[in-house]
């Protein structure tokens, strides 16, 4: 029996959004999960394998979709976006654009924003030649290349170089914050390349590697010691074209000499920034965003941005998939607490 005035809408079908919708539904409240893409899953659909246990992220998505189908209180609407919303006394009436083009208006009592993060545009780093040399790409684009290599397509690389902290921890051209997850997914990507092409030379240029999670340090050490990825401490200075390949110039700060390396592919672990849709949505629901566009929660609350608006996952700060789920669940708890008053 659907209770009147107790309907939640979750915007964004990534791990955070799916978990929030599921938990709210399982608690017996109506929840509408809308996703702008055709399929649920968000960014992790693009990834292959995961850290720290090298599992395929698709299994997580399938499991969640199965649970969502199983729960009758949850209504999933893919290829749907929010046009505008009017505030009402007990929530919002939100105008949606559906996949077949027409629109519908729903009365919603609580909104959970789970729009996730995306990669910063690193073409500002002229020295790395992103957007100029085809073989320089950011980590998300590299995931698609990894998939292509996995299916046997694409040219076998002799050398791959990963650059960390491109855009993050950089106050002059990027953002001062550390994007938290690049150290781990770069180690994962480097390990995958070494698995696929054992005699390729794989380098990771780092300043620090931050592996502060359960099984994280062992994961990175395994990539360094067992898979023999060479970690070089020194942020790269320049990428130059050199006879069809790419020459990387950097310093090995641990021995203090300038070094070079010629590779075929350069992967930039760009900073994670909130998706562009986060800012208009936040404005639409009157919630405040922080200095870099991430959503801010009220003090002492888990995920509450304002009294009927909550958020979870990458739109708050870049976060790994499992923790995005946990944040989705805590947003759901606060919604359930709101509905059960």
């Amino acid at each position: 029996m659907k209770q009147a005035g107790k309907k939640a809408m979750i915007i964004g079908g990534g791990p955070a959004g799916m978990e929030a919708a599921l938990r709210i539904g399982q608690a017996g409240f109506e929840s509408v999960l809308i996703e702008k893409e055709a399929a649920l899953g968000g960014t992790i659909l693009k990834l292959c394998s995961s850290f720290p246990r090298w599992e395929s992220p698709l299994e997580l998505v399938e499991e969640k979709i199965k649970q969502l189908k199983h729960c009758s209180y949850v209504k999933v609407m893919t290829e749907t976006t929010v046009i505008e919303s009017r505030t009402r006394h007990d929530g919002y009436s939100i105008l949606l654009k559906l996949n077949n083009g027409d629109t519908t208006e729903l009365d919603i009592n609580a909104v959970v924003l789970a729009t996730g993060f995306e990669m910063m545009d690193v073409s500002i780093y002229g020295e790395y030649g992103y957007g100029i040399y085809p073989d320089v790409m950011n980590s998300l684009e590299f995931e698609t290349l990894l998939k292509a290599w996995g299916d046997g397509m694409g040219k076998t690389p002799q050398g791959v170089a990963f650059f960390k902290c491109v855009g993050s921890r950089d106050r002059s051209k990027g953002y001062p914050y550390c994007s938290k997850i690049c150290c781990m997914y770069t180690a994962k990507q480097a390990g995958l390349v070494k698995d696929m092409f054992p005699n390729a030379k794989v380098y990771v240029f780092y300043m620090d590697y931050r592996a502060s999670g359960k099984g994280y340090e062992e994961f990175v050490r395994e990539v360094i010691e067992k898979k023999h990825v060479r970690y070089v401490r020194g942020r790269p200075a320049k990428v130059l074209p050199d006879g069809g390949r790419l020459l990387v110039r950097a310093e090995d700060t641990l021995i203090g000499i300038p070094i070079e390396v010629t590779v075929d592919v350069v992967v930039l672990a760009s900073a994670a920034v909130p998706r562009q849709e986060t800012a208009p949505l936040a404005a639409m629901f009157g919630t405040k965003t922080g200095e870099y566009g991430f959503l801010e929660q009220k003090r002492f609350s888990l995920a509450r941005a304002s009294n009927r608006v909550f958020f979870a996952g990458g739109c708050g700060f870049p976060v790994e998939a499992p923790f995005a789920q946990q944040q989705g669940a805590s947003a759901a708890v606060e919604v359930i607490e709101l509905f059960s008053q």
Binding site: Y203, E225, V232, D252, L254, I255, I259, V261, T262
Partner: protein, 191 residues
């Protein structure tokens, strides 16, 4: 105007032979090194090493055989095992230095501290002949070879008066076996 201008090391040209050798011959995997610098911090002679212990492990990774054999640290390392004891990954740096020292001697590389090398040789030859170190023998030979005949002479007299200097040129019974032991190890496997 000869032109030995430095060109940046290309990481692709690193020859792993020295790292492989140390892995197979000494059983040390330098990839375990966390580059934390604990060894260099504690090293008693670290401040006068041209390459601190951490940098020595780094040199092995960079495959710079030539510097490893000609560096000064090779001969002023006291092999006090502190770096091994402190290393979070248990990398046996003194063993790496021993191995490189043997390789340098065998390769005829001129030692940066000839006197230290001389002292090593005198000790070993004394053991080889007599099965144990006879101090007086080694000291006199060292003074003779380095040309400083009267070095520590006064100290020697004081030790004699206190009975600290063992004058007898003692010898082990089975010196023949000790010699065969030396032949067996020195001759073969080191490249």
């Amino acid at each position: 105007m000869e032109d030995n201008i430095y060109t940046p090391l290309n990481l692709n040209d690193i020859d792993d032979s020295i790292q492989e050798e140390i892995r197979t011959k000494c059983g040390i995997d330098v990839d375990l090194c966390l580059e934390c610098g604990k060894c260099s911090g504690g090293c008693p002679n670290g401040h006068i090493f041209d390459y601190t212990p951490r940098k020595i492990v780094r040199l092995v990774k960079l495959g710079d055989k030539e510097t490893l054999m000609t560096m000064d640290a090779l001969w002023i390392c006291l092999s006090c095992q502190l770096c091994l004891d402190r290393c979070p990954s248990g990398i046996d740096i003194p063993a790496i230095l021993d191995y490189m020292r043997e390789k340098a001697c065998r390769g005829g590389v001129e030692a940066s501290r000839p006197r230290v090398k001389l002292f090593h040789e005198l000790l070993l030859s004394s053991i080889r002949e007599r099965g144990r170190v006879s101090e007086l023998d080694v000291v006199l030979k060292y003074n003779w070879k380095t040309g400083e005949y009267m070095k520590n002479a006064r100290l020697g007299v004081k030790m004699l008066l206190k009975g600290k200097l063992n004058l007898s040129r003692s010898r082990v019974k089975e010196t023949e076996e000790v010699r065969r032991l030396f032949e067996a190890t020195i001759a073969k496997d080191l490249p």
